[in-house]
């Protein structure tokens, strides 16, 4: 939910120097510089990890315990290799066979599982975007619909809707047993879709309501109807508001898919792999890190996909406040 809930302050007077600096840096250098800083940040995190392993107390830092297991509040983790593997051990493990013998390398299994889950998340995202958009358009069209539904939608963003996941899954199993086919992956996609559709509905409503009163007057003066105004004015004006909503929806769909898989124990999904390998962590400590990195990559790919959509729609984003 980092789409800017906070509107920026009024535009500042830009001094000559600031404008000059902005003109000077080209887009290419800006991107390269940002990537370099990002890598520096990752390197810093790795450095902190390894330094802590080297210098930190072997049993971690506990506050208020009496020495027995599970007592007190653990502030810093234990440093030995079973609890905190070295970064290079994590990387090496990814290229070792998944479960010994001639099973494919772990990174391949993770990629396959991530692909499966990402596919389900994408399906859920699509459904959510379609339903959310339709709802957004309906809310913009009829004030009564907006008044009736918007409060519920806003509330749904606040409460842990995902708490429903095990229940949805249980319902799905029952429906399936009673004869109406309901494969487990459908539960996953559905859970992902209802997490995705709420931000899209709100984003679409906000975006469709965004055009200047002046532009609306213009449309009215040229006697354009509701549908034309929607397609030629409101939808294009909505793009800058929709893109953050689509990004949030993508991230939510990914989370929803992973959580749903864990609830269901879906075979072939990354959620199940995550739980499985974590269960074996005492004998194979570096293994659970691979699917963890896999979920991180999934999130980045999902966001990247939305960014590509944003690039394709760049014509509608001219004059947008940088988010």
């Amino acid at each position: 939910m980092t789409d800017q809930v906070v509107a920026p302050g009024t535009a500042a007077v830009v001094s000559e120097e600031r404008v000059a600096r902005g003109i000077r840096s080209s887009r290419g250098t800006v991107l390269a510089v940002r990537v370099a800083w990002g890598l520096a940040g990752v390197a810093a995190v790795i450095a902190v990890w390894e330094l802590y392993k080297f210098f930190g107390p072997a049993d971690g830092v506990t506050v208020g315990g009496d020495g027995s297991a599970g007592s007190g509040v653990i502030l810093l983790p234990r440093t030995h290799d079973r609890a905190m593997p070295h970064v290079w051990e994590m990387i090496a493990r990814m290229f070792a066979p998944t479960s010994g013998g001639d099973t494919p390398p772990l990174v391949v299994s993770v990629a396959a599982a991530a692909g499966t889950t990402l596919g389900l998340a994408a399906l859920g995202w699509l459904i959510g975007v379609v339903v959310g958009s339709l709802l957004g358009v309906a809310m913009q069209r009829w004030r009564l619909v907006e008044a009736g539904l918007l409060p519920w939608i806003v509330v749904s963003q606040i409460v842990p809707l995902i708490a429903f996941a095990p229940v949805v899954n249980a319902i799905g199993t029952q429906v399936d047993r009673s004869g109406f086919p309901w494969p487990p992956w459908l539960s996953v996609a559905l859970i992902a879709s209802y997490l995705a559709f709420f931000p899209v509905a709100i984003g679409m409503l906000r975006g469709l309501s965004a055009p200047d009163a002046l532009h609306l007057d213009l449309m009215r003066a040229t006697s354009a109807g509701w549908w034309q105004t929607l397609v030629r004015l409101r939808l294009p004006a909505a793009v800058p508001h929709l893109l953050p909503a689509l990004r949030l929806a993508a991230a939510s769909a990914v989370v929803g898919a992973v959580v749903a898989e864990v609830s269901i124990g879906l075979r072939g999904g990354i959620g199940r792999m995550l739980i499985q390998l974590a269960g074996q962590a005492s004998s194979d400590p570096a293994a659970p890190w691979a699917p963890t990195f896999g979920t991180v990559v999934m999130g980045l790919v999902a966001a990247g996909g939305v960014a590509l959509i944003g690039v394709a729609l760049h014509r509608f984003r001219r004059g947008e406040d940088t988010a």
Binding site: A69, P151, I162, G299
Partner: protein, 258 residues
């Protein structure tokens, strides 16, 4: 069309009507017998909630406490880091891409790893996940707030020969405060959601999430839904408290409303 505004009463009546209609539809669907067993009728859920209230309360206390710890820790670290990033470009450069990445990855997926690192009997994994989830919106909003002072205001303080510390305390901080609190309001909901969902990924066998999963699996529908209700209640509570705080401070600080 919708050119004219709705009367005030309609703005309240409409969502209430939708809620009531939803409840009635739910009840009718279940009463018709065609609903799956996992979908009990609203009264059964309410009954279980009342009968098992101590259980729900205890579980809610655990999940709520985890969310609170995460929210507080995440907020403190986010404010400190945002202050650093607003002051030194290198810090800003390194944290911006990392925070952008954090905002899109499933943070709860870190729970199994954290449980391995800190031990599966500790609540710390869930608190850490809630903390990371809370960190992101507070950091982003606080950083933006720290940059909202206008050049003419900064000129004024310089012209009045104010020291750097005075400018920070008297101008930058009051300007940033409403943004910070907006971030905390968003973070509160995220912390609750994350604390709850993290319970699906392992750790001690307590909390609302574990209860929902357990009872859903064993087919005790109404009880599972009662715990869902408990989770929703915590979410609403966190939201209301932080939204209230935000509103009070924004009013106290005058026209600066995000």
């Amino acid at each position: 069309m919708n050119a004219t505004s709705l009367p005030g009463w309609a703005r309240i009546a409409a969502p209430v009507a939708v809620g009531v209609a939803g409840l009635l539809a739910w009840y009718a669907f279940v009463a018709s017998g065609s609903a799956p067993r996992m979908l009990p009728d609203p009264f059964a859920v309410a009954t279980e909630l009342v009968e098992r209230f101590p259980l729900v309360w205890e579980a809610a206390g655990i999940t709520g406490a985890n969310a609170l710890v995460g929210l507080l820790a995440g907020t403190v670290i986010a404010v400190l880091l945002a202050a650093l990033a607003a002051t030194w470009r290198p810090v800003d450069g390194m944290t911006a891409p990392l925070v952008a990445a954090l905002a899109v990855v499933p943070i709860v997926a870190l729970t199994p790893i954290l449980n391995t690192m800190f031990g599966a009997s500790s609540q710390f994994g869930r608190q850490a996940v809630a903390g990371i989830a809370a960190f992101v919106p507070v950091f982003v909003n606080t950083l933006r707030g720290l940059r909202q002072t206008r050049p003419v205001q900064r000129d004024l303080f310089r012209a009045t020969a104010a020291t750097g510390g005075q400018t920070f305390l008297r101008l930058t901080l009051p300007t940033a405060l409403p943004y910070l609190l907006s971030g905390v309001r968003v973070a509160a909901s995220l912390a609750v959601i994350s604390a709850l969902v993290a319970e699906y990924f392992g750790g001690p066998a307590d909390g609302i999430g574990t209860a929902i999963a357990t009872y859903a699996k064993s087919g005790r529908a109404a009880l599972a839904w009662a715990f869902v209700g408990g989770g929703i209640a915590i979410g609403l509570l966190f939201f209301l408290l932080t939204a209230l705080l935000e509103r009070i401070v924004a009013r106290r600080l005058g026209a600066l409303r995000p």
